[in-house]
């Protein structure tokens, strides 16, 4: 940028000078990144590697990793029935939550993105963003209160006979997850839908496509980047959710997140906890690659 000829006259640049200027530019860019680069290596990348390495360590007397007897015991434990039950439950919950967020979130994002006035769209978006970044713990706690056995929702359920006590069951965990992660889905979807060139849809309609067909063949494929990004942003945190199942779930609704925490607490098995975490990390790294390729980076 800055090393372009600013006088606007055509002229042959000295290739040697140009190369030197380029090298200087790339050096400057690197220098700007150094603090964050070093920090993330020391407090993110190395810890990530350590978790992976410790998953092969043996368990010491206090539960901490013993760095001598290397083995794959923690990884083979992943196939135990108890573990596969929890893993399957977590994956199923994460999928259900992602699909529910996608369906509700799509209709919601579409509605916001098609408001005619820009000021309306911006206002509605801010109203989504506020709970998005607000205190997650309190928002989950609110449901603990709402679903309490003598709360109004339970009374309504008993009155109509449609549901019994929800607190400490999987449906309660599902409500909590949906509530917690819905905004994660709405934002990328909104960004993708708002960018759609509506004249394409118009052209489709002119060529006698029905409203449904135009939506399925034009709008939906064009919002694909948002669908992918939103699904990743909901699926990964749901998979490792801890606070929600801990507050709203019970003993029979243990999810992967709780199970990992137990390994570092009561169960005192750090290597096994590391193996479980590594499994999530592998999914996360793959998802990050997919996220980048989706072309919709909205947060």
């Amino acid at each position: 940028m800055l090393d372009e000829r600013s006088d606007g006259l055509p002229g042959k640049a000295n290739p040697e000078l140009e190369r030197r200027a380029q090298r200087r530019e790339s050096w400057r860019g690197f220098l700007h990144a150094v603090p964050a680069y070093v920090y993330l290596i020391v407090f993110f990348v190395l810890p990530l590697i350590v978790v992976f390495v410790f998953s092969f360590a043996s368990r010491g007397r206090t539960g901490r990793p013993n760095l001598e007897g290397w083995n794959v015991d923690s990884w083979t434990r992943l196939t135990e029935p108890l573990v596969t039950t929890i893993v399957t439950r977590s994956v199923v919950m994460a999928i259900i939550n992602t699909v529910a967020c996608l369906v509700i979130g799509y209709a919601f994002a579409y509605w916001i993105a098609t408001r005619p006035k820009l000021s309306t769209r911006n206002l509605l978006l801010v109203l989504v963003l506020i709970p998005f970044w607000s205190n997650f713990l309190v928002r989950t706690y609110a449901w603990r209160m709402l679903l309490d056995s003598d709360g109004y929702i339970t009374q309504l359920g008993e009155l109509t006979g449609l549901w019994g006590r929800l607190l400490f069951t999987l449906p309660a965990v599902f409500i909590g997850l949906l509530y917690g992660y819905l905004p994660f889905m709405v934002l990328p979807l909104y960004a993708a839908i708002e960018r759609i060139d509506w004249s394409l849809v118009e052209a489709g309609r002119d060529l006698y496509a029905s409203g449904t067909r135009a939506f399925l063949k034009i709008t939906l494929p064009l919002s694909r980047p948002g669908i992918i990004a939103g699904s990743i942003l909901v699926f990964i945190p749901s998979l490792g959710a801890y606070v929600t199942p801990d507050i709203l779930g019970g003993a029979k609704t243990t999810l992967l997140g709780n199970f990992i925490v137990t390994q570092f607490g009561a169960a005192r098995n750090w290597p096994f906890g590391s193996a479980l975490s590594s499994a999530i990390l592998i999914v996360m790294v793959l998802a990050t690659i997919l996220y980048f390729r989706s072309g919709a980076r909205t947060i």
């Binding site: 600013s6 700007h32 919601f108 309190v138 309490d148 118009e202 801990d246 906890g273």
Partner: protein, 266 residues
């Protein structure tokens, strides 16, 4: 993007979409409202209205461990915000202003991971690492952990602002013989300031609200407010929790709103 007249969905679909829209907003806000309202209820029982009262707030003021937790929270949030704002802004500049340097692609991807990673995994990683390198757990380790996730959020917000900025401004400054630092100080920084402040406020909010990572890397006596409250919730639900929750959620909503308002400023 302007909407075209020809693309009007059917009236019934339109009505369904609006209905869904308002339902989602109710879903997002009503639970928070319920907590706020019931924090002013005098009843001992949480879900029952017992007349207006501020007794739970009064009781909070005399709660020693709670006040200590608040102090820890503010201290941690202050330092992690300052450091991550400076470091995150530099990272955003590196990615937006300089197109080619060693490791740029990897850096870009790694920068996004703390945003996507589940809290539990990040917590486990940092706990293992801190115990491995022999770092004593306490306020210091909490600050280090918070900086680790906040850098990414600040960088993303600032980068969005930089992306909307006209590079011609900086070139003009350079043409007028401004040095690198002068051009940054007088031209770039004022222009990206809304992004820097917005990112900083977001970092502050995330630091004030974090539960899982903090609960793993805290030491004796360094508990923060959300971790303390989390412990209380796990034991039993009391009206006092409503009062603390109201304060926490109000603080974070005000901060988020300020962050968004500042970012949108031209």
């Amino acid at each position: 993007m302007t909407l075209h007249e020809g693309v009007t969905t059917g009236r019934r679909v339109q009505r369904l979409l609006s209905f869904n829209g308002w339902l989602v907003f109710a879903f997002l806000y009503l639970p928070i409202l319920v907590v706020v309202v019931f924090s002013f209820s005098g009843a001992e029982n949480v879900g029952i209205w017992g007349g207006f009262s501020v007794r739970w707030y009064e009781r909070m003021l005399g709660n020693g461990p709670l006040l200590n937790a608040i102090e820890n929270t503010l201290w941690v949030a202050l330092w992690s915000t300052i450091v991550s704002t400076v470091v995150g802004t530099a990272a955003a500049l590196a990615l937006d202003r300089y197109r080619r340097w060693v490791g740029r692609g990897t850096f870009d991807a790694v920068l996004y991971m703390p945003v996507i990673i589940p809290d539990v995994t990040m917590a486990v990683m940092l706990l293992l690492w801190f115990t491995q390198i022999g770092l004593p757990l306490g306020r210091g380790s909490i600050i280090l952990a918070h900086i680790a996730f906040n850098i990414s959020f600040v960088a993303i917000v600032v980068r969005a602002r930089l992306g909307n900025m006209d590079p011609a401004m900086e070139e003009a400054a350079a043409d007028l013989y401004a040095g690198r630092w002068q051009a940054f100080r007088r031209v770039t920084l004022p222009l990206i300031m809304p992004g820097v402040l917005g990112g900083g406020l977001l970092a502050l909010t995330l630091s004030l609200d974090d539960v899982v990572i903090t609960s793993f890397v805290q030491g004796p006596g360094s508990t923060t407010l959300p971790v303390h409250v989390f412990g209380l919730i796990r034991r039993s639900v009391t009206p006092e929790i409503n009062a603390v929750s109201t304060i926490m959620v109000t603080a974070s909503m005000v901060l988020v709103f300020s962050s968004l308002a500042i970012q949108r400023r031209e």
